[in-house]
């Protein structure tokens, strides 16, 4: 708080104080610490449901791969490991930047917070663009589509449409989560510009960051299971 030598406050009205210092926890919480802990636990419970959502896809993967391993080997051969690897690196880096963003909020580094949130958003964007341009568009054109829509002539196994259904389904749901995360980071960035976040109040950054890490973890598992079958 700014003071003149006489010790009196020079603040004229409350809006001069940054939002994160003025922030008042909702009434039913003891204090802001309590609100932060409760919010964080709520986010973890939501992440639990997200993990279970993706576990459905993974069990489907396990079932179909066990029943038709040759279709999975053949199907995985159509995927380019290099794009998958680049996407993995991009997502890991974006996980780092969002953890750094939380740290910047904790030490009141506003510029660093904005920069890291922007970098995370760019990471997600690069992921989606690579996926759309170099993977999805190519496969759509070649007819490597799920189930009944499959029209690629060079199938090795008659169960390959099952593999493609799993590929499009798993990566599609994951990409949807990435897009939702990107929208959340736009929201966070706009709030960060208004200096809503600081050492006393960075709950939203933490929450969206946790969500983004789960999205990254899912891709960490998807990458070897889809791209590295030989």
């Amino acid at each position: 708080m700014t003071t003149v030598p006489s010790g009196h406050s020079t603040i004229r009205d409350a809006s001069e104080v940054p939002y994160h210092q003025r922030y008042r926890a909702a009434e039913h919480f003891r204090d802001r610490e309590h609100e932060f802990d409760a919010t964080k636990m709520g986010v973890w419970l939501f992440l639990a449901t997200e993990i279970l959502l993706f576990s459905g896809m993974f069990v489907g993967y396990g079932v179909l791969r066990m029943l038709h391993p040759e279709a999975f080997i053949a199907g995985s051969g159509h995927l380019d490991v290099h794009w998958g690897l680049i996407n993995t690196v991009v997502l890991l880096a974006s996980s780092y930047t969002v953890a750094a963003a939380v740290r910047c909020a904790q030490v009141d580094d506003q510029a660093g917070l904005r920069r890291n949130v922007m970098l995370t958003f760019i990471g997600g964007l690069v992921f989606i663009l690579i996926k759309l341009i170099f993977e999805y568009r190519v496969k759509w054109a070649e007819g490597k589509l799920p189930g009944i829509f499959y029209s690629y002539p060079g199938a090795v196994s008659e169960y390959e449409p099952l593999w493609w259904g799993l590929y499009w389904g798993a990566t599609g749901i994951h990409a949807t989560h990435v897009i939702v995360g990107m929208a959340l980071f736009v929201w966070i960035y706009l709030r960060a510009k208004k200096k809503h976040f600081g050492p006393g109040h960075y709950t939203a950054v933490e929450g969206v960051g946790l969500y983004w890490h789960i999205v990254d973890i899912v891709w960490i598992f998807l990458f070897p299971l889809l791209y590295l079958i030989h």
């Binding site: 708080m1 009196h8 406050s9 603040i11 409350a14 104080v17 210092q21 003025r22 922030y23 008042r24 926890a25 919480f29 204090d31 802001r32 610490e33 932060f36 802990d37 964080k40 636990m41 973890w44 992440l47 639990a48 993990i51 279970l52 576990s55 993974f58 069990v59 396990g62 079932v63 066990m66 391993p69 080997i73 690897l85 690196v89 890991l92 880096a93 996980s95 780092y96 969002v98 953890a99 750094a100 939380v102 740290r103 904790q106 030490v107 009141d108 050492p199 006393g200 960051g209 890490h213 990254d216 973890i217 960490i220 598992f221 990458f223 070897p224 299971l225 590295l228 079958i229 030989h230």
Partner: protein, 217 residues
């Protein structure tokens, strides 16, 4: 909180006391991060480096496995690649969860939530895989002959007794034993009050094409 309630109607700001706005009750000021651990930048960079190295290791192992299989012309079972890749992925997940998500420094309740979610997924995946993995073992038993052509029990029984080959194994065994003279059928004792036989052909549990009755359908 060290703000002064002594003179709310006089003094600076024209008598308006903004201290409640600036220092809301319940807010803790002066000690920055409220006891939240601030992970150092070095730790974050270190974890990122470890994650990237493990990613490279996953790819390197897959390529190595393929190269070895090609070089020595051996077939490495599928589960080797899957187990190794998933183990490395689990280690990477542990790093992300512990350091990036700061679960290591967090309320242990959140760790419990995460761990129990993993246990739930383990149940889901584990039981499904056990069931599916044992189908190859169970189905021949349910299909009533071990392989096309059988082990000879059914064909011998059919020759000896005229029992059709898709009859229940129990019936085949009984007829074969009768033909060999090793079985004396007894009158079954009536059981008072027993429930009727609820066994019936179950559809859908046997892979179609494995048995003559097309899996019961």
């Amino acid at each position: 909180m060290a703000h002064n309630h002594d003179n709310p109607n006089g003094g600076e700001n024209g008598g308006v006391d903004l201290s409640e706005e600036i220092y809301p009750p319940g807010a803790e000021y002066g000690h920055g991060h409220h006891g939240h651990t601030v992970v150092s930048p070095g730790t974050l960079i270190g974890v990122l480096v470890v994650l990237l190295l493990l990613t490279g290791l996953t790819v390197a192992f897959a390529e190595l496995e393929a190269w070895i299989a090609g070089l020595f012309e051996i077939t490495i079972p599928q589960w080797v690649n899957a187990v190794v890749a998933l183990s490395i992925a689990s280690v990477k997940t542990a790093f992300v969860v512990l350091y990036f998500m700061q679960l290591r420094y967090d309320n242990p309740l959140n760790s419990m939530i995460f761990i129990f979610t993993l246990i739930t997924v383990a149940f889901f995946l584990g039981f499904t895989m056990i069931d599916l993995g044992m189908r190859g073992t169970i189905d021949p038993v349910k299909a009533r002959y071990i392989q096309p052509g059988g082990t000879g029990i059914e064909t011998r029984a059919a020759k000896q007794t005229g029992v059709p080959t898709n009859a229940p194994v129990t019936e085949i065994a009984r007829q074969a034993a009768l033909a060999r003279g090793e079985y004396t059928p007894k009158e079954p004792e009536p059981v008072i009050g027993s429930t009727p036989n609820l066994s019936r052909p179950r559809t859908g549990l046997t892979l179609p094409g494995f048995t003559d009755d097309n899996g019961g359908r």
